[in-house]
Point group: C2
Chain length 430, copies 2
């Protein structure tokens, strides 16, 4: 349940998609690493908040207690700490596992691919962070998924907002997870969850509401930097200062048109410590809708400066920022689009079919195909002793093989091969 | 235990190796499929003989009982049966899991890659089987692993031998697994295991010994086809007839020089029904050794015509033949060779580092690198506001980046970029 086989057409589409993502990661100078699907159970515990219950555990068959990895970020942090690596730009494309309620049509599975790019190391502020956003922008543009928006916020700004609105510090995390729902439900529902379930005062909730419904660009950052309350909060000031720097860098990258500083963005995971971001695809604009509506997150990430330290015996920190591309959702979209277009994706790369028009010519086919393979040419033949020529040509049409190399009795006698263009039926002897 | 992280240098070497294997599979017209790492426990049970105890099981957390796949062959057979596919040429490169005793120096891990190529379908005899051997030959030649030998046998011939030597049918499988040890221990040890543990009569063992120590080529096949006892056995005769056909096809492929018909080859798995084969690397010949000695199996496979039927509710069979490349052992060899050569493999593909020779030029770097990325050029910069030029050039040398694009105050004023060849120090303004 919640897993699936990929038949050739899907595997080919996935290969195309992953290779577009990986080539972007390589364009930004990332190296690949690989870590096991199995991690020690202890490594994963206490990293995912409420979602820890979704971790797949292996049966105790003697030896270490194991679990399947839940994401690629925690294994990356474990890898850095274990190998005392303090500086690394890496990508990792691999499967992760979650005992979640599957929703296959929306691309939610129990086994799914993640494509992560992360930069670890002590650097000057916001330069690697800006690169992560540039990467999201490049990938979503390359894949031509339609209009998109990248929402950006900072955990320090959010915490500053909670502080100046009178939320006690032990309620920052619950308040955060409630704010995160603002992209799905209207403010008054979020407000009543804050007051009801999370036990915030109505006044605090109202004050929070004034902030978290704001979104904009540089001018909003400037305004909040002047905000009489927020500007008094150290964390918020730091966060806003860095957000301003980020927007400067994004302006130099020429991508601010798709970026929105959005105070309602909170992100679920506990380990974020600074900038957070999330990319959403926008529905096609139409006359009846004033603002384009988000149809779902396709990338997300942020800064997590404390995670590596959790795995180091001396608690040594390695600052990290990274992005994860939501490949399954994008895959679903591309799959539906391909289906709608009626286009048939080739599942093989075969260049030529070796064919014979008469009987008793298997030996000639085997000799020729062997020569082609040895010359690096992608070639197939039917596994029959005496297949009909029509059947061989139909096979080309069915599978998209563009050429047939035909050896008949005449060709054998003349020491030539007849090369046929399957689509145009043109033939040359060579 | 028994798993490992792949740091960038290993990941790069592995990518190179896998891409050589996959490009051979594609050259032979195979399509990719992917199946989940998780399989139903029942799917895996009863397929691996004694090794079933090595399967990793997941904890029962509610829902289906799951296990990690043990190989790629059983999931492939399950896939064919589930989707009623009767005809397919596919490859699959993925990790499999075995709770085995790890022996890391020899490339034996609990999590490891398999690279499988299989042909499913009802075809004329030995044509797909011959292609599998051609593939092994191509891959081992391409990778330049040194001299190798592909041993070939047929389960039907082995069973025929047991029958004519007076082994009762219920002892075929135990006898088979004892014969399989002949590549590691001498005949008299194998003989005493047969008589002692497996309970065969000394006479039967001696008769078996006369057959299973034979190896050769076409002439041996011809001789056995004339063998007064063996030629009377239906199974053996069928197997020998097909073996002769296989050698004809391999002659047309021009690869019989590396093929040995070897009656001691048995292979462990229960599911083989016809041709079986195994490729071994040979030690460098030297004067003191008469015959080159095998240093380990690097590929293996065979025909399994009954496996798909085990997953079909009506038991419908789909004949299959396939090969698995022992990528971990090959990887160990390449790794050791790379280490010995002192060659440093690049872990990134970066073409150019964007650098500045004075302070306060971060904006210029960000603008230029963004242009390069947008033009599809693989570019990096240091994540520092004002890095020293020397440090930037050292970074190029350390990571193998061939070019530096330098923008200083002069270049900015002139509207040019200085492109520097890191190795030769030659510079051009452009």
């Amino acid at each position: 349940q919640g897993t699936r086989d990929h038949p050739p057409a899907q595997a080919a589409l996935r290969e195309r998609l992953l290779s577009a993502v990986v080539s972007c990661f390589k364009r930004h100078g990332a190296a690949a690493i690989d870590t096991p699907v199995l991690e020690l159970r202890d490594t994963l515990m206490g990293k995912y908040g409420e979602d820890t219950k979704l971790i797949y555990e292996l049966q105790d068959q003697g030896g270490e207690l194991l679990a399947l990895r839940y994401d690629l970020t925690v294994p990356f942090a474990r890898y850095l700490a274990m190998n005392k690596v303090t500086n690394m730009k890496r990508y990792h494309v691999a499967k992760v596992y979650r005992r979640d309620n599957p929703a296959m049509t929306r691309g939610r599975y129990r086994e799914f691919y993640q494509c992560d790019f992360d930069i670890a190391g002590q650097f000057d502020p916001m330069i690697p962070d800006a690169e992560c956003l540039k990467i999201v922008h490049e990938i979503l543009s390359d894949l031509q998924l339609g209009d998109f928006l990248i929402k950006v916020n900072d955990r320090r700004i959010l915490n500053g907002v909670f502080a100046v609105c009178g939320v006690p510090e032990n309620k920052f995390i619950p308040a955060c997870s409630t704010v995160d729902k603002l992209d799905k439900v209207p403010w008054d529902e979020v407000r009543s969850e804050m007051v009801g379930e999370k036990g915030l005062s109505p006044e605090a909730a109202d004050r929070i509401g004034e902030y978290v419904q704001l979104h904009g660009g540089l001018e909003l950052i400037e305004r909040l930097l002047q905000d009489p309350k927020l500007s008094q909060n150290k964390l918020a000031k730091e966060g806003l200062g860095d957000m301003k720097l980020l927007f400067e860098y994004l302006t130099l990258f020429g991508i601010t048109g798709k970026i929105s500083f959005d105070l309602s963005l909170a992100r679920g995971l506990d380990y974020y410590t600074g900038v957070i971001f999330e990319a959403v695809l926008l529905q096609q604009e139409n006359e009846h809708v004033e603002e384009p509506v988000s149809v779902g997150s396709v990338a997300g990430g942020g800064r997590y400066d404390g995670l590596v330290g959790m795995f180091d015996p001396k608690g040594r920190k390695v600052p990290c920022v990274g992005v994860s591309i939501g490949i399954e959702r994008i895959f679903s979209i591309l799959e539906q689009r391909l289906e709608a277009s009626g286009e048939k994706l080739r599942t093989t790369e075969t260049q030529v079919l070796v064919a014979t028009p008469q009987k008793h010519l298997l030996a000639a086919r085997l000799k020729l195909i062997s020569e082609l393979w040895d010359a690096g040419i992608k070639a197939e033949m039917l596994y029959k002793k005496d297949p009909k020529l029509l059947k061989q040509l139909h096979y080309c049409e069915d599978t998209g093989i563009p050429l047939a190399a035909i050896v008949g009795e005449q060709e054998l006698a003349d020491g030539v091969v007849k090369l046929r263009d399957v689509a145009t039926r043109e033939e040359v002897r060579m």
